[in-house]
């Protein structure tokens, strides 16, 4: 009898605990969304973005927003996203880099949602992207009138940022041509100034630099074809640009040991007034302190005498976008929650704060007196561009992009000849296309 009483007591306790757990209405109705983002750690946007997204759950008590910051360079974050996808565990909303090269695997495996109809029907997004649909092309939309796989978050353009004070110190002018650049390098070095801030470790400054040079030598069609098929014999731009990097490394245009530096370290050199210029995207403007920025100018990359020669052509497009997991999008209740989150994230309130950092807005917001002066100059440059082309790594396979990174390191430390670099790049691009 005692055993029976004990058993009844245990059963009642379990029932009581279960009733208490499930009687909490918010526990049952609250949806948990996962947001994975890159604006964390040393990222210029982190001080604005992270407090902003933490407010979302307070403003939306029916949604519990689980935050997943993704630290590291592009390849590391990509590897993390692919691992999530392989485990069928993609966050509900996440940031990624654009282009078929980056997104094709998600699209083929049906892991991300097609947002074409959503963007066409949502009044706010329709308004935001009216007359700006060119942002979709090549970044989140890969065929005319085709599916749209994400919502652009941030545009970018690439240019040379120069420290005018250091140029004056060295007694040189801002280079308009490659010949100008070669002439001023020894003058910078004579004054103990690093001519060009460069880093080779995290597949950013070094690869972007190569893209900038490629763009000056070849047409976009031949460059993209070379990277996607490995057919680089018909694209002499690859060899010419590789030779330029190799030559600049030999002239000591870059910091010693730049191959093992992260981009943030290289930009610190620029910000501290130790390096005279860097070539990179608008995403780096936030890393330039206001004091340094006041003495800076943004200019197009130099041209080559035997190159395409149009200084007004810029590399630019969509830097990052928000993608939605197909699994979340299918479920109606989650879809509504994701809709709320997307409107919270792609919002003039947040984007206006970015203007101070020098981050251009996808929503064409007006400048304020707090807007970074470098951004105003960069925007002016972009508006005067004859055309803009998305960075080429948006098209290449992971293998090809990896090869670009490795071989640019080899060119920077001159451990490989330009001819050998292009040969290996071609082989890797071919293998990447086949695999």
């Amino acid at each position: 009898m005692q055993k029976f009483q004990k058993a009844i007591l245990v059963l009642l306790s379990v029932l009581l605990v279960s009733v208490i757990s499930f009687s909490n209405g918010s526990c049952k109705d609250k949806i948990t969304l996962r947001l994975a983002y890159i604006y964390t750690g040393g990222h210029a946007k982190a001080p604005i973005y992270e407090p902003y997204i933490k407010e979302f759950s307070k403003l939306n008590p029916d949604i519990n927003l689980s935050l997943e910051p993704m630290n590291g360079g592009t390849p590391d974050v990509q590897a993390k996203l692919y691992t999530y996808a392989a485990g069928d565990n993609l966050p509900d909303v996440f940031i990624s880099w654009p282009g078929p090269g980056m997104l094709k695997n998600f699209v083929d495996a049906q892991k991300i949602a097609d947002l074409k109809d959503y963007l066409a029907q949502d009044k706010l997004f329709k308004k935001y992207f009216q007359n700006k649909e060119y942002f979709f092309d090549g970044s989140v939309r890969f065929e005319k009138n085709g599916p749209i796989w994400g919502i652009p978050d941030e545009p970018y353009y690439m240019f040379l940022t120069v420290n005018k004070k250091l140029f004056a110190q060295a007694g040189v002018q801002i280079p308009k041509t490659y010949e100008d650049l070669k002439n001023i390098i020894p003058k910078f070095r004579a004054k103990g100034i690093i001519p060009i801030a460069m880093a080779g470790k995290d597949q950013d400054l070094n690869v972007c630099f190569w893209f900038g040079m490629l763009n000056r030598f070849g047409t976009d069609q031949e460059i993209i074809k070379g990277l996607t098929t490995g057919d680089m014999e018909k694209a002499p731009a690859y060899l010419r640009s590789a030779k330029a990097i190799y030559q600049l490394a030999g002239l000591k245009a870059f910091p010693e040991g730049c191959v093992s530096m992260q981009s943030q370290e290289a930009l610190t050199l620029f910000d501290q007034g130790k390096a005279a210029m860097y070539y990179g995207g608008t995403w780096y403007l936030g890393n330039v302190s206001p004091k340094t920025a006041a003495g800076c100018e943004v200019v197009p990359l130099w041209t080559f005498a035997d190159g395409k020669g149009d200084p007004k052509e810029l590399l630019g497009g969509v830097a990052v976008e928000y993608l939605v997991s197909a699994k979340s999008w299918k479920e109606n209740s989650r879809r509504q929650a994701v809709d709320k989150l997307l409107h919270y994230l792609i919002n003039p309130t947040l984007y206006s704060k970015y203007l101070e950092l020098g981050t251009p807005s996808i929503l064409n917001l007006s400048y304020t007196d707090k807007t970074s002066p470098l951004l105003i100059k960069a925007d002016k440059l972009a508006k005067s561009a004859t055309r803009m082309q998305q960075n080429y790594d948006a098209y290449g396979s992971q293998q090809a992009n990896d090869a670009l990174n490795n071989l640019s390191q080899g060119l920077l430390n001159r451990s490989i000849t330009p001819e050998e670099a292009v040969k290996q790049l071609s082989e890797q691009a071919k293998a990447g296309a086949a695999n």
């Binding site: 080779g200 191959v259 093992s260 990896d402």
Partner: protein, 291 residues
């Protein structure tokens, strides 16, 4: 052992064995399984037979990475175990503070590899790093160089932190071995007028050989699995000069989305490690020495 005792033993072992089978044995079996497929982790795997292994043996980057692993093994055997032996023998002769020094030597082994690598990364900075600054201070500025950016020095520089970090680990194992050597042997040697060097050569090292073998096999397998320090310091660069097979496996699997090929690299690492261990045991181990 009675059947009842055996049943009890199995019952106690069962949870740990289940855990081990599920997380280790099953995982290894899956890796071997996927090595025969072409799979990007997202779509359905496609059976390709042994073509991943054919690609593996012909892949020059894998062979180059394996060469780097051989350098790691050599550094581990010469520097790690060499220094550990010297420290162990010194500790055994140390009358005061032996316990304190044992702790000091072991502490680096329990620090995160990432932290150690980052520290060495700063020390190797070509402009303000401790190494180059010290060289310039003592008038050897010509020897200062970008250790991690130079393709000739990068692999040695990148492997140095992991080699040095685990010296203490080997010290602890060797010290345990050295304390098993009877004092009577050293006393007899002392009475015979044997020098310290002769004691070490004829008594300590032969009797410690079994323990040294454990350290060697551990160093070999550890070097084949090397990843953390090189990943933090160079990521495998410049231009794959510091790529290790473990790092290569990570890049191929998680960045190139070639899960099948990455699995074949893992199987390759396992087989090479097994081969090294078997060969070492066969040709270098000897019968236990007793005096």
């Amino acid at each position: 052992m009675t059947p009842k005792k055996m049943r009890t033993g199995i019952l106690f072992l069962a949870p740990a064995m289940l855990f081990y089978c599920f997380f280790v044995v099953f995982s290894i079996a899956r890796v071997i399984y996927y090595s025969f497929f072409k799979w990007n982790g997202l779509n359905f795997p496609q059976f390709v037979g042994v073509s991943n292994y054919v690609r593996l043996v012909n892949d020059q980057t894998v062979l180059a990475a394996f060469r780097n692993n051989l350098i790691a093994i050599a550094m581990a055997l010469i520097i790690q175990i060499g220094i550990a032996l010297i420290l162990t023998i010194s500790l055994s002769n140390c009358k005061f503070g032996a316990r304190f020094f044992r702790t000091v030597y072991f502490v680096p082994a329990v620090i995160s590899g990432v932290a150690v690598a980052m520290m060495f990364g700063q020390a190797m900075n070509p402009d303000y790093g401790l190494i180059n600054t010290s060289l310039r201070l003592i008038g050897l500025g010509t020897l200062a160089r970008p250790w991690l950016s130079n393709s000739n020095t990068a692999i040695y520089a990148a492997l140095l932190p992991q080699t040095l970090q685990y010296i203490g680990w080997n010290v602890i194992i060797l010290v345990a071995g050295i304390y098993n050597i009877p004092d009577s042997l050293y006393e007899a040697a002392y009475l015979d007028g044997v020098s310290n060097l002769q004691k070490t050569w004829y008594i300590t090292l032969p009797l410690l050989w079994e323990v040294i073998q454990i350290c060697i096999i551990s160093a070999i397998t550890g070097s084949l699995q090397g990843f953390t320090h090189v990943m933090v310091l160079t990521g495998g660069g410049p231009n794959s000069a510091t790529e290790l097979v473990g790092l290569l496996m990570y890049h191929r699997t998680f960045q190139w989305l070639q899960f099948g090929y990455g699995s074949s690299i893992s199987v390759g690492i396992f087989l090479v490690g097994l081969l090294f261990s078997v060969l070492f045991k066969r040709y270098f181990s000897s019968d236990k020495i007793e005096y």
